[in-house]
């Protein structure tokens, strides 16, 4: 049973997470294991996880997108710009924001899949362009957004903030799609062997383009959600998010070479980083040390994973 548990990276990772949570609950018994703290952790990682779902899809197909953090900022700022300066009704502004997100994904996907531009170069260039766009439309930020827009991210259901529900819904829906539909399973075939997938009749280029569009749409939705939660659009939103999300997704079982990964892994990876971050805040670890500690823990977890895989392969 133990062997089976450690053979599956997701289960092994979940066990490590449970051990960390149990230890933190014992050490910080009055502050860590509370409903408020857990719902705050989930709330803080909700937008990251939604973006991570899109990144998981891309990594499964063997590619990635570095412009997701800027997409979060641009879509949030653009939607707010429409509502604040042009009094565009909330649903229409959101729709136009999501349209922008899909155009960003379409441009990335088309140039990478059809024109053969390297994904790192293309998405890096896009990252700069739309970060500039976010600064241009929002200046130093937009405050005073419509009440019904803020409702989207600030409401609660069963005492838990709505972004957490949206995150769970997103992970659930994409998990179902990836497991149960032929269309989404094709991403595994593409990630495993792109040439073989092409020869077997899968329209690889088109599928790749769809992947980028979906990833951008999820980043756009996360941007709108974060803006609504903050009640303000900040051009600095999502800075460094791309690396955070790629780390979470790799922690959650995906590989940079493609072909593997499961959606709950995206949630688990983000949850791991959220829990460690929260423990550091509660134990008052200074900001100087936080990145160093997080990096060391990530290396340790990946090493442990490799070690266990080797051990049980024999």
């Amino acid at each position: 049973m133990l062997q089976k548990l450690f053979e599956n990276r997701l289960y092994a990772f979940a066990v490590v997470l449970v051990v960390i949570i149990a230890a933190a609950s014992a050490v910080f018994s009055s502050t860590f294991p509370t409903f408020n703290n857990f719902s705050q952790i989930l709330l803080n990682l909700s937008t990251d996880t939604i973006v991570a779902v899109g990144m998981m899809l891309l990594l499964i197909s063997g590619t990635f997108d570095l412009s997701v953090g800027s997409t979060v900022a641009f879509v949030g700022c653009f939607t707010s710009y429409l509502m604040f300066f042009f009094h565009v009704p909330v649903p229409l502004a959101i729709l136009l924001g999501m349209l922008c997100a899909s155009v960003i994904g379409l441009v990335n996907g088309y140039l990478i899949a059809y024109q053969g531009i390297n994904p790192m170069i293309q998405t890096l260039a896009m990252m700069g362009i739309i970060r500039g766009g976010a600064l241009m439309v929002s200046g130093s930020g937009i405050q005073g957004l419509p009440y019904w827009f803020n409702v989207i991210g600030q409401s609660k259901l069963l005492g838990i903030q709505m972004p957490v529900w949206y995150m769970l819904l997103t992970v659930g829906v994409f998990s179902f799609l990836l497991n149960k539909t032929i269309f989404f399973r094709r991403y595994y075939y593409i990630g495993n062997n792109e040439k073989a997938a092409d020869l077997s009749g899968i329209r690889v280029k088109r599928m790749k383009m769809y992947g980028f569009i979906l990833s951008s749409l999820l980043a756009g939705a996360a941007g709108i959600l974060l803006t609504s939660r903050l009640g303000a659009a900040l051009p600095t939103m999502g800075r460094g998010l791309e690396l955070k999300v790629i780390t979470a997704v790799i922690l959650g079982g995906a590989s940079l070479s493609g072909g593997i990964g499961k959606m709950p892994g995206a949630l688990l990876g983000a949850l791991f980083m959220g829990v460690i971050g929260n423990i550091m805040v509660i134990s008052r670890v200074s900001g100087y040390w936080q990145d160093i500690i997080l990096g060391l823990i990530l290396i340790a977890i990946l090493w442990l994973d490799k070690f266990l895989q080797k051990k049980y392969e024999v």
Partner: protein
């Protein structure tokens, strides 16, 4: 047959609608609950937390955080500095919200962006004394604010430049465009120049708080306007960037420079005669007195009524302008030796 699932869906939907809580349109004014215990042994267990963004920025480390840590040592209380390493306001908000759960004795928050108002209000609603420093968040329910009047920073630079160039010549200024405090500074500068018809403003530039960017803008301006007489810088990196380009052009001392902040590199440039004046903020006072306000609030040091919280009053100053330092070649040694 179909009725049962239908009823289930309807009931579930109604339950969800019933459980849904919308955010309130107007948050209630919070009445912070104040710690009653003032005994010495209890003080040691008190914790005051500073939450900023870009926690590793040298200006914050050398001035704000150093004074805060010194205050904690002097008072014999625990102090912690938290926040993301980069300029990430949403991460600062996350940190504030996570800290609230651990109920510190007081929260000292760097007023980085108006968007942090919601998190400040949550802290105040949770009964935690909360003071904002650096830039005010006027739409929040913070208990007090300490900082500098940026309009005065602009005026100080404007008056010094006008005097240095005898009221005639081309002037350019730069900083982070769009930030409320810097925009107020720019306005102060321009209001002074209105009194001098001989001064021509060639433009306002965004150096993105980056030394290289400030140097690049300056060298471009030196090429476009060889007769430019002065530069004014508004963020911490504007001065060193402008000075670098002016030195490289071999015009140090001929072109006049004023800027803000007084890090060792700024002071060295004043000493060398490359920068003529620094408008320094008394950042140490932001956090020393900010922390002291928190302490006084928690200990009800200056009780003004039978029950200040019930009476809806705060027993600390509402807003404090900490004032400015003027550093020139005449007095720079005082600050270098400090």
């Amino acid at each position: 047959m179909l009725r049962k699932p239908f009823l289930f869906v309807v009931c579930s939907f109604m339950l969800m609608v019933y459980s849904c809580e919308l955010p309130s349109k107007n948050t209630e004014t919070a009445t912070p609950s104040v710690n009653e215990g003032t005994k010495d042994e209890a003080i040691k267990n008190e914790e005051y937390v500073m939450v900023t963004t870009a926690v590793t920025m040298p200006m914050y480390v050398h001035h704000d955080q150093a004074a805060f840590l010194k205050w904690g040592k002097a008072r014999g209380v625990k102090v912690s500095v938290l926040g993301p390493a980069d300029w990430d306001v949403s991460e600062q908000i996350n940190t504030i919200e996570e800290v609230i759960g651990s109920k510190p004795s007081g929260l000292l928050i760097n007023g980085t962006d108006p968007a942090i108002a919601g998190a400040i209000n949550k802290a105040v609603a949770a009964g935690i004394p909360t003071v904002v420093y650096d830039s005010d968040i006027p739409d929040s329910k913070r208990n007090a604010f300490l900082g500098t009047d940026w309009y005065e920073i602009g005026k100080m630079q404007g008056e010094e430049i006008a005097s240095l160039i005898n009221g005639r010549g081309k002037v350019a200024y730069m900083g982070i465009l769009g930030l409320n405090n810097m925009e107020a500074g720019f306005k102060g500068l321009l209001d002074v120049f209105k009194k001098y018809p001989g001064i021509e403003v060639v433009g306002k530039f965004d150096d993105k708080a980056n030394v290289e960017e400030a140097a690049k803008i300056t060298s471009d301006l030196l090429s476009a306007h060889p007769d430019i007489a002065a530069f004014a810088g508004f963020d911490s990196n504007s001065g060193p960037g402008i000075a670098l380009a002016v030195k490289e052009a071999g015009r140090a001392g001929k072109i006049k420079i004023t800027c803000v902040d007084w890090e060792p590199e700024h002071l060295a440039l004043v000493k060398q005669g490359v920068i003529q004046m620094l408008a320094g903020q008394k950042r140490e006072l932001f956090t020393w007195y900010g922390a002291q306000f928190l302490y006084d609030m928690a200990h009800k040091t200056n009780k003004l009524s039978g029950n200040d919280a019930k009476a809806g009053i705060t027993d600390i100053p509402y807003s404090v302008n900490t004032g400015l330092l003027k550093i020139t070649k005449e007095n720079v040694d005082q600050f270098i030796n400090h």
